[in-house]
Symmetry: C2
Subunit: 215 residues, 2 copies
DNA sequence: ATAATTTGTTAGACTTGTCTAACAAATATA
DNA sequence: TATATTTGTTAGACAAGTCTAACAAATTAT
């Protein structure tokens, strides 16, 4: 039986592997809020089960088996988020933490029913793609708002941070998913960004621009 | 933090306490599928936390605090069952096992939303009362179909077994919640029961009649 | 009332997932 | 390059929740 901890490690390793930096022990430690030696012993166990590959002092990568399991959990997480928003009436900034719990429900029927009710959805409420039953993800070609040239107009299609704090901030400044964003100006020093959304000009910090995915 | 195991022990002790026989170690052991010494050590821990009262070789009873916690879990279980049936389209025979998992979700918001969507429901799909936010249960005065005199007609309002096997059986023989049941005859030897439901006469075993609650 | 059976208890071991303390390797800095 | 810092590893401890083996109390049957 797959344990809660195991699912969380696989998911975290998967998510870290998506960044260029890759999944290192210290990053996992920070992400999972667990001390370094714990990471070490857990990753050793996952390696014994052939879920991750791992050489001392190098980072971790998921085996095919590990990746499949990670994607199953991610599928459940994202389906749940969409269900919570669409069917239960939650706001997009409220659903992440609840989905972190619900994703560990074992019953496949429960999630198949969500999938049915939502008619095989492709994206969660934060614009992240929902893996299909076989773990396939649509190829997306997203860019960071932080890297778009001045003068261009892009469409805001996803966030890379689903925390309530960040999403509430976006709502407060009037930026919502699928808005068109025009880059007016960027401060070279710190990446401070002047943008126009719905004819209104606002300023975003570089950090925020790093979390907004556009196409 | 309340653990999964703790919640399951409290719920099981609560449920067993509802029977005349009370909650004994061996009954708990059977119900939770756990060996007797495990029950012993766990109940000791629950007693340390003042959730159950317990004297050696006597049964267990919940303290007020323990009962409150048990009823919280039962509330979540029954709300979930109704949500699964009413909102997600599951059959009443499919929901018990899923609810056993969902009931342990911590987020209070999740269940408040269910409660809202279902408009403060009073009964789950098996006719069991849903405790309110304060743990209050409506006083019900139910009888076992097994104990009704011959000739009477009663209304089927709840089952005491929500297993898929039992509920599927009831569906198969054409008995559904809120049917009117007339007692035609009862075999003294084994309680075999002849009943009339929707103008059709059927025969139920004594065991089944013990699991049907009527008023 | 004694023996047999059932039920409950104690002792001690094991697994999972976590920790702290001490040390080692790799990387960055002077 | 030598040293300091950061990152990773090993060893060993601990809590939660489970088990088996051995024994004790309570209950039932003879």
């Amino acid at each position: 039986m797959r344990t809660l901890a195991e699912e969380n490690y696989l998911k975290a390793i998967y998510n870290l592997s998506q960044n260029e930096t890759g999944a290192t022990a210290s990053k996992l430690s920070e992400k999972l809020n667990v001390k370094l030696p714990t990471i070490n012993s857990m990753v050793n166990k996952l390696a014994d089960k052939e879920l991750v590959e791992y050489q001392k002092y190098k980072g971790f990568i998921l085996t095919e088996k590990g990746q499949k399991q990670a994607l199953e959990v991610i599928r459940k997480h994202r389906l749940t988020e969409l269900f919570l928003v669409k069917i239960m009436g939650f706001g997009w900034e409220e659903v992440h933490d609840i989905a972190e719990e619900v994703e560990h429900i074992k019953s496949p029927l429960f999630f198949e029913k969500m999938d049915l009710i939502l008619s095989n959805p492709k994206y969660d409420p934060h614009g992240a793609p929902i893996p299909d039953k076989n773990g396939k993800l649509p190829k997306t070609n997203l860019k960071l708002l932080a890297n778009i040239e001045i003068g261009k107009t892009v469409r805001f299609v996803a966030v890379s941070d689903s925390s309530s704090d960040f999403l509430s901030y976006l709502s407060r400044v009037g930026i919502s998913l699928y808005s068109n964003i025009e880059i007016i100006d960027r401060e070279v020093f710190d990446g401070l960004l002047k943008i126009k959304v719905n004819k209104i000009t606002t300023t975003l910090s570089g950090q925020v621009a790093e979390k907004i995915l556009v196409e």
